[in-house]
Chain length 455, copies 2
């Protein structure tokens, strides 16, 4: 694992020292001696991780960190603050500014490398997610998620600790900010974590009868818990196992005696990062799903119908079950647009979609084919029943006039419907054509009626 | 880094031995003693990596591997074959069956762990990509890519080697299968790799004046080369540096003297894996892009217009530049559908879209608003010029009749057009409304004409 690391420090000697250590481990190193240069390098997307000195003349590290986290273009970059003294107050200031992690001078080399490697791994994963999400944002499909906006509060935290006193101290430290569930049994903890619903796991490294790292490793390798952040709670002399844990994919650690502010800040940072990754995933998911949806009505679109009708027909044929398809066309829709404008036409289409949704089952597939034409595919439904459903849709459309503007103007709307049941041939085109012909008959016969195609 | 590893071996003692080693390193281990059980566990998505004994009674390892790689549900699982003897012919058989890697018994622990860790890291990345791609496939937007289908040939390979004789041996081994470019200078190699166009880099570990691992690390951390597979070419006594390389993210290695068949097979495996990851990325990308596209015409859709018109107007206002919007509506389109059927209507719409594309500039944004209505947004275009463009579109539509079926039947088509230039207010809705009103005037005045809205 490697990464481009930006070292920000006003003292050239400090930069040199860190640079030598990181370069020896084959990291790529850039440096900046002031905040302004650092911000520019980050904005130009030149680095993966920022190692940021807290104390600098002019813009100090806290300020640089705050600005990085406030800018959507850089907010996802992990920031490790390097503080001169082990001042808890500095840590809290840095964490408040959004720093992801801390090191104190003189920098411990092993801890530095473990942190940097762990953040590099996360960064690569986030980059992969982010590059998809950036596409969705550039297409205007969803707004790009900003990692800095989440408060990192109200988390549900699973605490795995078998010593009641220690557990109680952690619960009380997080009280009012998060909901903590204590579980003393590691196997049970794994089940609970897999059941979901938690935002983070905090694992005590010294469980009495179980190797806590084994539990961490199991959580990392199980599909259902792979993305759950893990914070280990350790004693200072557990150093080797802490590093092993980071290597296994544990996200962070805190050392006893636990400083409350530090715990709060580290938990917040984990929650933020998880929620950011989750929202990138769901942005991409949402964008992908949009591709199958008609923007105006929210119904599935023609593209979705075309790919799914074939497989629905295949299934029906395979299982020897009925399947009926309904085509609906709004009568004289053109005159709605011409007389009342397109906004009114759009209102009618949306309202039409809502009324159809009310009548059909959730197993039925409703699509807007385009214009004022819709299709409903009804699996497991023979023609006789489908005819009754179609009649019910027709009646629902006619039942009361459609509202076309905010002022409450209404117009009467009716629809013509054609239905056809699948025959021997499992061919989407011929089924659509037969239903379309039935629709045409409804139109010819005076509209506002249902016609069933002969088998 | 951790993972769930499936050990497949008919001898319980072998399973136990590997299991103990992997468990000690906190991997999750499952086992199977025959091919049938192994296939079932893989299909149930129970593991991340398969460690597969070549020699088993009944279904042997080669057969298991072939079946895993032939099934789209399991083809992405990395398979490490364990062969009893260091038989080059076995390696080739296994690689032909699609194995990703090899180990020979007795299994060297350090090599085992390095391989497994490197594959685990890749698997996690692929899982993330794959889970998005699975969604697109389930929506029917694209077909799920099958990792096993690529032949792993015709690669463009960048060989970084400063000894001519050694380079020549590698080139001749790959001749006829891949196109190999030799680069002796490591810095130049980095530039060339970043310029793109290569499918793999092969790096000699003993360059005379440069640490080859530094080059590997730079390729791994540069954005543009991050996804490029790296194969290192090493001497057997370079073992420590080989392991360091795998740790840095090098994908595979081969030891001198190079066995031609092994080199060919390892290169093929890297190319396959890269192309698989690339196609997952592009599937997701394509699915996302579909969300902004009208399925019938391939033009941008209403959703895209709505999100982009606002920003185009903002830009124009900000830079004090003109912007004109055109709305087009096909005249008497309803009667095309009614007289000739929907297939004919669809043909007209597609043909209409093609003709518009021919006339406007690539900087213009053409959208299908829905039905037979289209919008063209023309940045940097004042009303006077836009009027001429609109007139050209109108003339192009009218110029020759539209073909509506395979039999070559044609019908005349015309369009009414309304255009409006942006005013002081940068409001998409009001601009659309003004253009729509102009369109309405074109319709009222007898259709097949262009009307420009007053400023």
């Amino acid at each position: 694992m490697t990464a481009r690391i930006l070292i920000v420090d006003d003292l050239a000697a400090n930069v040199k020292l860190l640079e030598a250590r990181l370069t020896a481990e084959y990291f790529d190193v850039l440096s900046a001696t002031n905040g302004t240069d650092a911000l520019r390098l980050c904005r130009d997307d030149r680095c993966d991780i920022v190692l940021l000195d807290a104390m600098m003349p002019g813009m100090d590290g806290f300020e640089v960190c705050s600005r990085l986290k406030a800018d959507p273009a850089t907010a996802h970059l992990p920031v490790i603050m390097v503080t001169a003294l082990d001042q808890p107050s500095d840590r809290v200031r840095g964490l408040d500014a959004g720093a992801d992690d801390f090191l104190t001078k003189p920098v411990d080399e092993v801890a530095l490398l473990a942190r940097v490697r762990s953040l590099a791994r996360l960064k690569m994963m986030l980059d992969e997610l982010r590059s998809r999400a950036v596409t969705t944002a550039s297409l205007g499909l969803v707004e790009l998620t900003r990692s800095s906006l989440d408060a990192g509060e109200n988390g549900r935290i699973l605490l795995i600790e078998d010593r009641a006193a220690s557990a109680e101290r952690i619960v009380s430290a997080l009280r009012g900010l998060h909901e903590v569930t204590i579980e003393a049994d590691p196997q049970e903890a794994l089940f609970r974590a897999a059941e979901g619903g938690f935002d983070m796991a905090a694992v005590s490294l010294d469980l009495s009868d179980f190797d806590a790292l084994r539990l961490c490793s199991q959580m990392r390798s199980l599909e259902r818990t792979r993305a759950l952040p893990i914070l280990i709670i350790a004693d200072l002399d557990d150093r080797q196992r802490i590093l092993r844990g980071l290597d296994l994919g544990v996200n962070d650690y805190i050392v006893r005696p636990i400083d409350r502010n530090e715990l709060v800040a580290r938990v917040r940072s984990q929650l933020r990062r998880k929620r950011y990754a989750d929202s990138l995933r769901s942005d991409v998911q949402a964008a992908i799903e949009l591709a199958a949806v008609d923007p105006l009505t929210g119904l599935n679109n023609r593209r979705y119908l075309e790919t799914h009708l074939a497989s629905l027909l295949d299934n029906a044929a395979h299982q020897g079950r009925a399947l009926t398809l309904m085509i609906l066309d709004i009568d004289h829709f053109k005159s709605v647009n011409d007389s009342f404008g397109h906004d009114a036409g759009d209102e009618v289409l949306k309202n039409f979609a809502r009324r159809m949704r009310r009548v059909v089952r959730s197993a039925d597939l409703i699509c807007r084919l385009g214009g004022e034409e819709f299709v409903i595919v009804m699996p497991d439904t023979p023609l006789a029943i489908a005819t009754r459903v179609a009649e019910r849709v027709r009646a629902t459309i006619q039942s009361e006039p459609f509202c076309i503007d905010a002022a409450g103007r209404t117009i009467p709307v009716t629809a013509s419907i054609g239905i056809a049941e699948r025959g021997r041939e499992a061919n989407p085109d011929s089924l659509l054509r037969r239903a379309d012909k039935a629709l045409y008959e409804s139109k010819s016969a005076g509209r506002n009626r249902v016609t069933a195609a002969a088998a």
